[in-house]
C-alpha cells in the first residue's frame, strides 16, 4: 500500500478564525448599543444610521453571518481536512470563499445602516448581495464536495454529515426566500405577499437557526468535543439517529413563529407538533455530547476548553427544550412578541454558539501555533465572566417578557384593560433592560480577555501554515479490503452523493407539505372584497417604514385574543395582507402593534410623534425621526413602483401608473393642508407625508367607515 504525503492548510483556518473574532467584537458592540438604546433613547445619537431600527438588523447579521459564519467555516475547514485525510480541494477556492464572505459582510455593514433592507429577518440584505451570497456559497460547496471527493478516509464521520446538510439546506433556504423583483440596484420587493411571504420567511428564518446556527455547530461538537476530551463520542449510533431525525423534523417547524397569526390553522398546528417532536433528537444530541465526558469530569475542572464546551452543549439542551415549549400555542400566546423570545435566542446565541466558538478557539489556536495556551487562568476568568454575563443577560428579560405579557392581558373586574396604556407595561420592565445591558457588557468583557489570551498565545508560538500528514490513497485501501464487508449500512457513509441527495429529500418533504397548499389552494387565503391596493403615496410611505426598520419594534398582527382586540381593534385576517410585498407582521412588540393604527390618531399627532416621540407619549423610548420632516420624498420611482407591483400581481387598473403622480400629489397636498390647520405645518413634498399616508391606511380596509386605497 502506497503511503501518500500531503499538507493540511492551516492558513485558511486561521484567516476565518481571526475574521470571526474581529467581526464578533463589532457585532457584539453593536448589540450592546442596541440594548442601551432600549432604556436610553439618546443613545440613538439623533442620526438615521445609528437608530435602533437600522442597528438591530446590523447586530443580528453581524453575529450570525460574520461571527458564527466565519467560526463555522474555520471549524469546518480544520476538521474536514483531518476527517478526510486530505488538503482542501482548492486553495484558490478557499481564498475566494474567504474574501468573498468578508466582502459580503462589509457590504452588509454599509447597506444596513443606510436603511437599504428587505426587512425580512436575517435576510435583510438586498438582491445584489443576495446574488453574491449565492455565488460565494457555491464556491464553498465546490470546495467542500471537492475535498470529500479526494478524501483518503473512506467513511464519512458524522460531523461531515452535519456539514453536508448545512451546505445544501442553506442554499435551498437562501434561494427560495430571496425571490424578489428588483426596482433598482438597491431596492427590491418580495415575490410573495402577506401570508405566503410570512410562511416562506419563517420557514427560512427558523431553518436558518437550524442549518446555520445548529447543524454546523453540531458537526463541530461531534469533532471538537471528542478531540478536546480525548475520547470517542458516547454513542455513534445515537449520533446517526440525532442527525436524521433532526434534519427531517426541523424543516417542518417554521410555522411556530406564526402561531395565532393569520396563517391557516392547519399549518400552525403542524408547526407546533413537529416543534414538540424536535425535543427528542435535540436532547439525544445534547446527552450524547455530555455523556462523551463520562468518566472525564475531572478534566472539565482543569481545562477551560471543556468548560466552554460543556456549557455550550448544556445551553443547546436548554434552548432546544425551551423552543418546543414556546411552540405550544397556549405558551406562545404568552411569550410571543415579548422579550422572552429575545432571551430564548440569546441562550442559544451566547451559550451554544458563543461558548462553542470560544472553546474551539482556545483549542485551535494553540494547536496551529504549536504551543500551549498563554494563560489557562485568564481563559477560566473568561469562562466565569461569560457565564455570569449570559445569566445577567437572559434572566432579567425572561422575567420582564412574562411580566409585560401578563400586563398586556390583565383585565380589571369591570372587564376593562388594567393597563390600557402600552407605555406603562414597557416602562415597568425598563430596569430589566438595564440589567440585560449589564449582562451583555460582562459577556463582551470576557471576549476581550480571550482576544488578549489568543494574541499572546500566537506570539509565544510559531504558526504552522502547512501541516504535513500521511495516509494511504483511497484506491489502495479499496484493493486492500480483505473481504466483502457484511454491513449494508456502510455504503451510505461512503457515498457523499447519495448522502447529499437523501439529506436533500429529507429537508424538502417538510417544506413542500407546508408550502404547496398555502400557495396553490385558494381557500387558504380568503380574499376580502374591500381590501384594495395601496395608493402611490402609501407605497412610498411603506418603503420608508421598511427603511427605518419600524418592523423591528412594531408588529402588524393583532392576534385573536380579547386582550388584543380590546387594545388594538379587530384581529388581523389573512385577506388583509394580499398586497403586502413584503409582509410586515413583525416578531417583537417593543412598541404597540400598528395594524389597526390607521385613523386612530390625527395626522398632526403622527407628525409630532415622529419629530419627538416624547412630546406626544411622555416617557416613550422610541427614537426620534426628525429627518423625516425635512427630507424630500423621492417620487422618481413612482411609475416604476406601480408597474412592478402590477407584475407581482397587485391589480392596479391599466395605465394607472400614468395617473399615479397626480394621485400622489393630491393625497400629499390634502395631508399637508390638514397638518397646517391642526398646528403641525409640514410641506407636501416631505417624507413624513408619505409615512403618515401609510400609517393612516393601516388596517382600515375592512372598516366600512374609513376605507381608502387606490380606486
Amino acid at each position: 500500500m502506497k503511503i501518500e504525503t500531503f499538507k493540511y492548510d492551516n492558513a485558511i483556518v486561521r484567516a476565518f478564525a481571526i475574521a470571526s473574532v474581529a467581526f464578533g467584537i463589532i457585532g457584539m458592540l453593536v448589540g450592546l448599543l442596541a440594548a442601551v438604546q432600549i432604556f436610553w433613547p439618546a443613545a440613538n445619537m439623533g442620526l438615521p444610521f445609528t437608530t435602533f431600527g437600522r442597528i438591530r438588523p446590523l447586530h443580528t447579521n453581524a453575529v450570525i453571518f460574520a461571527f458564527v459564519g466565519n467560526a463555522m467555516f474555520a471549524g469546518i475547514y480544520y476538521s474536514m481536512q483531518r476527517l478526510c485525510k486530505a488538503r482542501l480541494f482548492s486553495d484558490l477556492l478557499s481564498w475566494i470563499h474567504f474574501w468573498g464572505w468578508q466582502a459580503i459582510i462589509l457590504s452588509a455593514a454599509i447597506t444596513l445602516p443606510l436603511g437599504i433592507t428587505t426587512s425580512k429577518e436575517y435576510a435583510e440584505l438586498e438582491w445584489p448581495i443576495d446574488l453574491a451570497i449565492t455565488l460565494v456559497w457555491v464556491v464553498f460547496a465546490i470546495n467542500f464536495f471537492g475535498t470529500l471527493a479526494k478524501r483518503r478516509e473512506r467513511h464519512m464521520y458524522v460531523a461531515i454529515w452535519f456539514y453536508i446538510s448545512t451546505v445544501i439546506t442553506v442554499a435551498v433556504l437562501h434561494i427560495v426566500n430571496s425571490f424578489e423583483l428588483p426596482l433598482s440596484w438597491l431596492k427590491s420587493y418580495s415575490m410573495y405577499a402577506g401570508v405566503q411571504d410570512a410562511l416562506v420567511q419563517w420557514w427560512y428564518g427558523h431553518n436558518a437557526v437550524a442549518f446555520f446556527l445548529t447543524t454546523p455547530y453540531l458537526g463541530l461538537m461531534y469533532y471538537f468535543l471528542p478531540k478536546a476530551a480525548n475520547r470517542p463520542v458516547f454513542s455513534y449510533r445515537l449520533s446517526i439517529i440525532h442527525f436524521w431525525a433532526l434534519i427531517f423534523i426541523y424543516i417542518w417547524a417554521g410555522p411556530h413563529h406564526l402561531l395565532y397569526s393569520a396563517l391557516p390553522d392547519w399549518a400552525q398546528s403542524l408547526g407546533m407538533v413537529f416543534s414538540l417532536m424536535l425535543i427528542a433528537p435535540s436532547w439525544g444530541g445534547m446527552l450524547n455530547g455530555l455523556l462523551t465526558l463520562r468518566g472525564a469530569w475531572d478534566k472539565v475542572r482543569q481545562d477551560p476548553v471543556l468548560k466552554f464546551l460543556v456549557v455550550a452543549v448544556t445551553a443547546y439542551g436548554m434552548s432546544t427544550l425551551e423552543g418546543p415549549l414556546m411552540s405550544i400555542k397556549s405558551i406562545n400566546a404568552l411569550t410571543h412578541f415579548t422579550d422572552y423570545t429575545i432571551a430564548h435566542v440569546h441562550t442559544g446565541a451566547l451559550g451554544w454558539n458563543g461558548f462553542l466558538t470560544f472553546g474551539m478557539m482556545y483549542w485551535l489556536i494553540p494547536q496551529m501555533y504549536q504551543t500551549k495556551l498563554w494563560s489557562t487562568k485568564l481563559a477560566t476568568y473568561h469562562f466565569w465572566i461569560g457565564l455570569m454575563g449570559m445569566t445577567f443577560y437572559v434572566l432579567p428579560i425572561y422575567w420582564g417578557g412574562i411580566t409585560q405579557s401578563l400586563m398586556w392581558k390583565q383585565f380589571t373586574a369591570d372587564g376593562l384593560l388594567q393597563y390600557p396604556n402600552f407605555l406603562e407595561t414597557l416602562l415597568n420592565i425598563i430596569p430589566m433592560h438595564m440589567l440585560r445591558a449589564l449582562g451583555g457588557s460582562l459577556y463582551f468583557t470576557g471576549v476581550i480577555l480571550m482576544v488578549i489570551n489568543l494574541i499572546k498565545t500566537a506570539k509565544q508560538g510559531t504558526f504552522l501554515a502547512e501541516q504535513e500528514a500521511q495516509a494511504p490513497a483511497l484506491a489502495d485501501q479499496e484493493l486492500a479490503e480483505d473481504a466483502p464487508h457484511p454491513y449494508r449500512h456502510r455504503w451510505l457513509e461512503r457515498k457523499p452523493l447519495i448522502m447529499t441527495v437523501l439529506a436533500l429529500v429529507a429537508i424538502l418533504i417538510g417544506g413542500i407539505v407546508e408550502a404547496v397548499p398555502t400557495f396553490l389552494v385558494r381557500t387558504n387565503v380568503p380574499t376580502i372584497a374591500s381590501v384594495r391596493p395601496y395608493t402611490p403615496l402609501e407605497l412610498h410611505g411603506r418603503d420608508l417604514y421598511i427603511r427605518e426598520g419600524c418592523v423591528g419594534c412594531h408588529s402588524q398582527m393583532v392576534r385573536p385574543f380579547r386582550s388584543e382586540t380590546v387594545r388594538y381593534g379587530d384581529y388581523s385576517k389573512a385577506g388583509e395582507f394580499v398586497y403586502d410585498h413584503p409582509f410586515l407582521w413583525g416578531s417583537k412588540r417593543t412598541g404597540p402593534d400598528l395594524h389597526r393604527v390607521g385613523k386612530k390618531y390625527p395626522d398632526a399627532w403622527h407628525a409630532k410623534h415622529m419629530a419627538d416621540p416624547r412630546s406626544t407619549s411622555p416617557g416613550s423610548i422610541m427614537p426620534p425621526y426628525p429627518w423625516l420632516l425635512t427630507r424630500k420624498l423621492d417620487t422618481k420611482p413612482t411609475v416604476k413602483k406601480i408597474t412592478l407591483m402590477r407584475k407581482l400581481g397587485v391589480p392596479y387598473p391599466e395605465n394607472y401608473e400614468l395617473q399615479a403622480m397626480d394621485d400622489l400629489k393630491a393625497q400629499a397636498k390634502a395631508i399637508s393642508e390638514n397638518l397646517k390647520q391642526t398646528g403641525a405645518p409640514v410641506e407636501a413634498d416631505r417624507e413624513i407625508i408619505a409615512l403618515i399616508a401609510y400609517m393612516q391606511r393601516l388596517g382600515t380596509d375592512i372598516r366600512a367607515d374609513v376605507s381608502g386605497g387606490a380606486k
Partner: protein, 61 residues
C-alpha cells in the same frame, strides 16, 4: 393538471396531519432500526475517526 391536483388537496387538508405522522413514524423507525443494526466493529471505527493522532498535533493535556 397540477392545478387540479392541488385544488384536490384543498378538500383533503384534514388528512395532512395523518400523512405527516405516517411519514415521520416510518422515517424515524427506519433510522432507529438502521442505527441499531450497525456492527460493533464499524461503530468503533467511526467513533475513533476524529481521534486518530496526527503529526504535529499536540495532545491537549
Amino acid at each position: 393538471v397540477i392545478r387540479n391536483v392541488m385544488e384536490g388537496i384543498g378538500g383533503h387538508i384534514a388528512a395532512f396531519p395523518v400523512i405527516s405522522l405516517v411519514i415521520f413514524v416510518t422515517f424515524f423507525a427506519g433510522v432507529i432500526l438502521w442505527a441499531l443494526s450497525l456492527s460493533r466493529r464499524h461503530v468503533d471505527h467511526m467513533s475513533q475517526l476524529p481521534l486518530e493522532s496526527q503529526a504535529g498535533e499536540t495532545s491537549h493535556e
